[in-house]
C-alpha cells in the first residue's frame, strides 16, 4: 500500500515539476485519461531550463522583460531598493506572473508607454507582422535587411540560454509605427497560420536559392525563416528551426564537426528509443524474423552492424530462452565505431548482455569489433564457424545507408555478407529518398519526412499515459526525452541538408530502392510472418498517441508510419540459391 502512495506522490510531482525539479505547486492527482497537464502550452525549450512561460504569452512576457530591464536601468536607486526588502517574491519560474508583479512594484511612469503600446497593437491590421525589439533604432525604419552578425542564424532558437535573445532578432522587417518615447516598443501581433504557409514557402525558396548558388538571396531568406519560425508553435517551429539551421550551415559553409562522440549519439538514440516506437518496432520485427530463421538450430550467431547499447538483444535472448526445446547457444558479434576516449564501449555492452544471459539461462558469447566503416571488415575477420554447426544472422538497423557515401563500399559489404553465408539478413531503414543527386529534391523529401516525424513525436509527447516504468511510454513531463529525440533527428537533418560527399552519411533510400539493390546483388526476400505483424501492432497500440501510428505490410516487409506516411521499413533477406560470391551489378 505504501508503494501505491509513493506512486501517487510520484505522479503528482511528475505532474508539477519540470526536468530540473522546479515545482509549481500545482500537483493535481493525475488520472489516466487526463489530457491537460499544467505543462500544456508551455514553451518546451524554456521549460527545460526551469521557466514556465506559455507559448502564447511569449511576446507579452518578452516585452515586459524589456520594460523591466529598462525600468531597473533608468529608475533611481531609491526607486527599487524596496524590492530587496520586499518579502513577497513571486515564483520566478512562472515568468509571466513574476514579471508583472515586478513591473507593478516599480514606479508607474511606464504606464504611459504601455498605453502607447496598446495603441500600436490595436492600430495594426490582422495581417501578419513581426515582433521587433531592436533597442537602438527608434525611428521609422525602412524594410531593409540589416547586414548583421551571426545571431541571425536561427540556431539560437534551438540552443539558446537567454529568453531575450530569441525575441531580439536584429534583422528588421518592420511595419512598425513611429514612436518618440524612449521606452516604447513597437510590438505587433503575428498571425500564426499565414506565417505557417509563408514559412514553408520561404524554406523551399531558400533551398531553391541554394540550389542555384544564389547565396545572397539564400542568406536573406534564411534569416527571414528564423523570424517566421519563432511565430509558430510545436512541431512546425522545431522542424523549421532545424532546417533553417542546416541551410544556414550550408550557406555560410560552417559544417558540423564530425568530432561529436558516438557516445553522445548513443545517448540521443536512447532518448529516441524511449520517446517513440520506431526503434522498438525495428528491434521487435527484426527479432521476430531472426527467431523464426533460427528454429531448430542449436548454435546461433548474430552479427550486429551497429551495436550501440545493445537494446535489441535482451528481447531476443528472452525469446530464445523461452522457446520450446530450450535456448540455443547464442553468440553475438557487435560492430561499432572507435570511441574518442578509447574506452571499450563494445566490451561493456557485451559484458552487460552476458550478465543478462546468465540470469535467464542462455549460453552466451560476445565479440566486439571496432571499425570506422563496415567496409573495413571482411568475412575472414569475423570468425565465422561452419554453417552446418552454427546458423548466422546479420542485423542492420539504420546502418547500411551510411555506406552509400563512399563509392564501392556497399558492394564490398554485400559481398562480405554473401561470403558469411547467413541464414537471414534483417534490414531496417528509413523509408525516404534522401539520396537524390539534386539538392532541391533531397531538401523537399527531407522536409516532408521530418515534418511527419516531428508531428508524431509531438503527439506522443503530449498524450497522457500511465506507467511507472520506462518501457511503456512516460507521462509528458519527460520533455527532456522529447527534446533529446528532436536533437537526434536534428542532427540527421543537418547532415542531409548541409553536408556533401563522404561527410553526408545519412543517405536514406526507400524500401523499393533497397529491394532493387538486394535483388541484384543475389538476395531473395524473406516474408515477415503474421506473428511479426501482430507483435508490431500490439506494440504500437501500447504507445500513447498510438492511433496515429500505422503498421503496413508491403509484399512481405513491414512498414511503420504516421498516419498515411510510412517512415521506417523492416525487410528480411536470404541468399539466392544460385548466387555465387561474385558481386552483382548494382545501380547506384
Amino acid at each position: 500500500m505504501k508503494r501505491d502512495r509513493d506512486r501517487e506522490r510520484e505522479k503528482k510531482s511528475f505532474n508539477g515539476g519540470v526536468s530540473n525539479g522546479g515545482f509549481s505547486g500545482k500537483g493535481k492527482i493525475w488520472e489516466e485519461d487526463e489530457e491537460e497537464t499544467p505543462d500544456a502550452g508551455m514553451d518546451e525549450l524554456l521549460a527545460v531550463l526551469g521557466y514556465k512561460v506559455k507559448s502564447s504569452d511569449m511576446a507579452d512576457v518578452a516585452q515586459k522583460l524589456e520594460q523591466l530591464e529598462m525600468a531597473m536601468g533608468t529608475t533611481m536607486e531609491d526607486g527599487i531598493t524596496h524590492l530587496s526588502t520586499d518579502t513577497v517574491h513571486k515564483n520566478p519560474s512562472d515568468m509571466a506572473g513574476w514579471v508583472q508583479s515586478m513591473l507593478s512594484s516599480i514606479s508607474t511612469n511606464f504606464d504611459m508607454c504601455n498605453q502607447e503600446n496598446e495603441l500600436v497593437l490595436s492600430g495594426c491590421g490582422s495581417s501578419s507582422s513581426i515582433i521587433d525589439f531592436s533597442r537602438n533604432e527608434q525611428n521609422h525604419r525602412t524594410t531593409t535587411i540589416s547586414d548583421d552578425d551571426l545571431r541571425a542564424i536561427p540556431g539560437g532558437a534551438v540552443f539558446n540560454s537567454d529568453s531575450n535573445k530569441r525575441q531580439r532578432s536584429s534583422s528588421s522587417f518592420s511595419t512598425s509605427m513611429l514612436t518618440d518615447s524612449s521606452a516604447a516598443r513597437p510590438v505587433v501581433l503575428v498571425d500564426s497560420q499565414e506565417t505557417g504557409v509563408r514559412l514553408v514557402h520561404t524554406l523551399m525558396a531558400c533551398a531553391e536559392a541554394v540550389q542555384q548558388e544564389n547565396l545572397t538571396l539564400a542568406d536573406q531568406l534564411v534569416r527571414h525563416i528564423g523570424i517566421l519560425a519563432v511565430s509558430q508553435s510545436g512541431a512546425m517551429r522545431k522542424v523549421a528551426t532545424y532546417f533553417a539551421e542546416a541551410l544556414a550551415r550550408r550557406i555560410y559553409k560552417i559544417y558540423p564537426q564530425d568530432s561529436i562522440e558516438s557516445s553522445y549519439t548513443d545517448v540521443l538514440q536512447m532518448h529516441f528509443y524511449e520517446t517513440c516506437p520506431y526503434l522498438k518496432f525495428a528491434h521487435f520485427t527484426a527479432n521476430q524474423a531472426i527467431l523464426e530463421a533460427f528454429t531448430g538450430c542449436n548454435k546461433v550467431h548474430v552479427i550486429d552492424f551497429s551495436l550501440k547499447q545493445g537494446m535489441q538483444w535482451p528481447a531476443l535472448m528472452q525469446a530464445l530462452a523461452l522457446r520450446p526445446g530450450g535456448p540455443p547457444a547464442f553468440r553475438l558479434t557487435g560492430i561499432g565505431p572507435p570511441q574518442p576516449d578509447n574506452t571499450d564501449a563494445l566490451q561493456q555492452v557485451g559484458w552487460k548482455l552476458a550478465q543478462l544471459a546468465e540470469t535467464i539461462g542462455v549460453e552466451f558469447e560476445f565479440r566486439g569489433f571496432v571499425a570506422n566503416s563496415l567496409a573495413d571488415l571482411d568475412a575472414a575477420i569475423l570468425d565465422i564457424r561452419p554453417s552446418e554447426t552454427e546458423a548466422v544472422a546479420i542485423n542492420s538497423v539504420f546502418e547500411l545507408h551510411r555506406l552509400l557515401s563512399r563509392p564501392g563500399a556497399i558492394e564490398k559489404v554485400l559481398n562480405s555478407i554473401k561470403q558469411i553465408n547467413p541464414k537471414i539478413v534483417t534490414l531496417v531503414e528509413q523509408e525516404a529518398n534522401h539520396n537524390a543527386g539534386v539538392f532541391i529534391d533531397r531538401f523537399n523529401e527531407a522536409l516532408h519526412y521530418y515534418s511527419t516525424m516531428f508531428d508524431s513525436l509531438e503527439s506522443s509527447g503530449s498524450s497522457s499515459s500511465a506507467s511507472p516504468t520506462g518501457i511503456l511510454p512516460q507521462p509528458p513531463v519527460n520533455n527532456q526525452d522529447l527534446v533529446m529525440s528532436e536533437v537526434y533527428l536534428g542532427r540527421q537533418i543537418c547532415n542531409v541538408v548541409a553536408c556533401e560527399g563522404s561527410d553526408r552519411v545519412e543517405r536514406h533510400e526507400t524500401l523499393n530502392q533497397w529491394r532493387v539493390r538486394m535483388n541484384s546483388s543475389g538476395f531473395d526476400p524473406v516474408h515477415l510472418g503474421s506473428n511479426a505483424f501482430k507483435q508490431a501492432s500490439m506494440l504500437l497500440a501500447l504507445f500513447a498517441g498510438g492511433d496515429g501510428y500505422r503498421v503496413e505490410e508491403n509484399d512481405g516487409c513491414l512498414m511503420l508510419g504516421w498516419h498515411t506516411r510510412p517512415l521506417i521499413a523492416t525487410s528480411a533477406w536470404k541468399l539466392s540459391p544460385d548466387s555465387g560470391t561474385g558481386a552483382g551489378e548494382v545501380e547506384m
Binding site: 530462452a321 500511465a466 519527460n478
Partner: protein, 152 residues
Amino acid sequence: MVQLENGTNFFINDNVDVLIVILQRLDGGSLGVAACVCKLWCSITRNDSLWEHLCFRHVSPPPEGVRTVVLALGGYRRLYMVCIKPVLDRLRKWKKGTGFDESEVMKRVWMQHEVELSLSLFCVDYYERVFLGGGGGAAASSLMFLCNAVNV
C-alpha cells in the same frame, strides 16, 4: 469472523489455504487492497505464486522455463505490475476501439501474444533497470531522486 451453522466460529486467518484460494480469484488491484488488511494478508499477497497465477490465469499453460526466467528478471508481481497489467489495459482499450473479434479462440491466441510481448518488454525493462541505470533514461531516475529530497 463468520459464524457457521453448527455454532462454531470461523476465522479466516486460521484457514490460510481457504484464504489463498479466495485471493487467487482476485485481480491485481484487489490484491493490493488485500495486502493492507493485516500482516498475515500482507505476507500472503506478496507471495509470488499468487501473482504467477494472476499472470497466466487466462492463458494456456505457459511453456516450461518461464518461471526461472521471470523470477530471475524480478518476479511475477513485478511482471504483472510493470508489464502485464499496463499491456492488458491498453490493449483492451485498443481492441474496443478497433471492433475486435472477441471469439474465445481469438481471445486465447491474442492473450498468448500479449503475454509474450509482456515478457519481452519485461526483459528489456530489466536490462535497462539493472544495466543502463534507471529505466526510462537517466532523466527519470534523476527526477525521482529530486522528488525524494524535497519530501525529506
